[in-house]
Symmetry: C2
Subunit: 387 residues, 2 copies
């Protein structure tokens, strides 16, 4: 690949339940903010990649979401890629935008991720991964699956229920000062443990909410970056997607696709896990964050519970994880998440994150897992950004 | 872009109504044929792009279709891009595969397009473009729209009803020897004119059928092409996508997005419309083919009816169009179409097209229009291939 790619601007709507707001309005708001932040005109955008996971099933609009947003912001007559990759749809849109610029084919690309989950046109199936109808009917939904992961992790590694619950407490605390987070009120360990049971040992507060929202990023070539001035630019050191199946019959506590995708990203970036200053990881469920510490090489296998107990992943710790509040607290509008992680990393690497700023952050990593059940199909997305 | 891209292999299932066959089986069949044709192992594939328009709405599988097909053929741990762009979904998948190889990031990419329309899980909305619910409720469906285009073309340019109907007759005749076509029995002009009225002046035989099917193409870099031996390779001279809105308030008889996309493709390829030896165009409705002759510069504006009357676009004419039978006869499983057009061009440019062979064909063009109603969103895809 010939071109180094930079992120020149980011945008993000508040996440939450806004049943009266339209799908397009979310995309417009995030895209306009990103373009304004970048100082780039809609006319300069050469490629638009739009990630959403469920707009067909929820809104009857399976194609054309990117065109809709492009129209809203004044972008016409460029290639638009509408991509669908479960919870990794936003990361996939980011990757397509990256590929478009890295290839030298385009100088400016806009990546948008969005989802509207608070209103669904008549769709009542449980929120399983696509194609998992049987599992949905049987109640083997994502919370049930992650509950099994939690039990196994507790049994194999002595991880405590309190360590698992502390992920929710930490991420709520981080999000206090994130005006875009779906929840900002603090919670205690007791709150998590005593919340409504969902799938033992997980309670409602161990599970991310559903919601609406969008995020956007403007990616540019070195040529455009030089014109914009480099002081607020962030460099894309690696953008890796790996699709396949998680092999969790062997070990439920490892997301092996994420292990291999992250190793490839470290190799491409020439950066190791010990050099990461902060990370946004896929904490759709509390136990997920602990497992991903291990998957990403932030600690040895089985030590995830201890890592959080030692305060390493708090803001102020050695390797803050999910300073945005993560999916648990910031929210998880499926297709928006991958790009919202980029929004947080860019904010942090620029020093714009206010009270949740990770001091001196130079290298950030984002990880997202899309689709997850054994036998279904998944995509792991890893992005490494540097300042 | 650094790399010249070649097509090393293609595959395609028969198109038709196969309610008992699964979505994945179509994709597998086309992908295996393309890989075998290319002489490439699934393990060599570095990127998989999968285009489908309606698998979320029809099968409840909005994400993960590409992963499903990858799994079926033994492809794992690579980036999978599931793309959705109306009837241009297949062309978009082809374009992503092209971008992946042209960029130098991948040496081998697999593009698959597919759709299964004969069985739909409880979805009964008329077949409008996504997001056109009001228009669907009012009966302003694609046949009604194209009927208006036909009437306007007849009024403005003196195009006759018989010239329009002759597109269906020509494309049926071409498809007689296409074993993959949904319909192969010949029809007469009288058959078309006397068929069940759909939207005056169009009858059932002026309209493409719905159906199931898949097509696939293997794209390779020059490095891999050299290893495979060049005798059966076809070069991608241009792959262009342009998304936006058709401006048909001004003139219903022009698909302006296709006009501009084709001009850009001609420029990129360094090839003019007079150098095209054969074309596959988007004849979802008979009148569409005549309009696209004009859009693509095959004749002057308004002369489409005369072009077919003069026999120019017959097999054996100066510029055969839709020798495969086109969408009208070969069939139109939405997401499959863009890649099925590539299948036909490659077969023709290799001299493999049997009784429907266009003699001496060296340059082929494919054109697809996805989404089309004024105010909704569209994508035009143009591909130029050379031998």
């Amino acid at each position: 690949m010939s071109e180094t790619v930079f992120i020149a601007g980011v945008g993000m709507t508040p996440f939450g339940k806004f049943p009266k707001k339209s799908l397009r309005s979310f995309g417009r708001e995030a895209a306009v903010e990103a373009l304004t932040d970048a100082g780039v005109s809609p006319k300069d955008v050469g490629l638009l990649a739009c990630g959403s996971a469920r707009t067909g099933i929820y809104q009857g609009r399976e194609s054309g979401v990117g065109q809709l947003i492009g129209w809203e912001v004044g972008i016409r007559e460029i290639p638009v890629y509408n991509v669908k990759n479960y919870c990794a749809s936003g990361a996939t849109a980011f990757n397509v935008a990256w590929l478009g610029v890295a290839s030298g084919e385009h100088d400016v690309a806009l990546a948008v991720g969005l989802e509207k989950m608070s209103t669904r046109s008549g769709h009542s199936r449980p929120l399983t991964a696509d194609g998992m109808e049987l599992e949905g009917d049987l109640g083997f939904t994502p919370p049930a699956y992650y509950a099994m992961v939690a039990r196994r992790h507790m049994q194999d590694y002595g991880t405590t229920r309190e360590q698992i619950a502390s992920v929710a407490v930490k991420n709520r605390r981080a999000a206090r000062s994130n005006p875009r987070a779906q929840y900002r009120d603090e919670i205690s360990l007791k709150d998590v443990l005593r919340a409504k049971p969902v799938a033992s040992p997980l309670t409602l507060l161990d599970c991310c909410p559903t919601g609406d929202g969008a995020a956007a990023a403007v990616l540019v070539s070195g040529k455009v970056a030089a014109r914009l001035g480099r002081q607020r630019l962030v460099r894309v050191a690696a953008s890796v997607l790996r699709s396949g199946c998680y092999d969790q019959v062997k070990d439920m506590t490892v997301f092996d696709l994420d292990v291999r995708a992250s190793r490839l990203a470290y190799e491409k970036a020439g950066i190791g896990p010990d050099e990461i200053d902060l990370a946004e990881v896929h904490d759709a469920f509390t136990i997920g964050e602990l497992v991903h510490y291990e998957d990403l090489g932030f600690c040895a296998k089985g030590d995830g519970g201890q890592l959080i107990a030692d305060g390493v992943t708090e803001i102020g710790g050695r390797l803050p994880v999910n300073p945005s509040g993560g999916l648990l607290t910031k929210g998880h509008p499926l297709g928006a998440t991958g790009v919202a992680q980029i929004f947080e990393l860019v904010s942090q690497l620029r020093g714009d994150a206010g009270d949740r700023q990770v001091l001196g952050a130079r290298v950030g990593l984002a990880q997202v897992s899309g689709g997850f059940l054994e036998g279904d199909f998944a995509t792991s997305g890893i992005t490494i950004l540097t300042r």
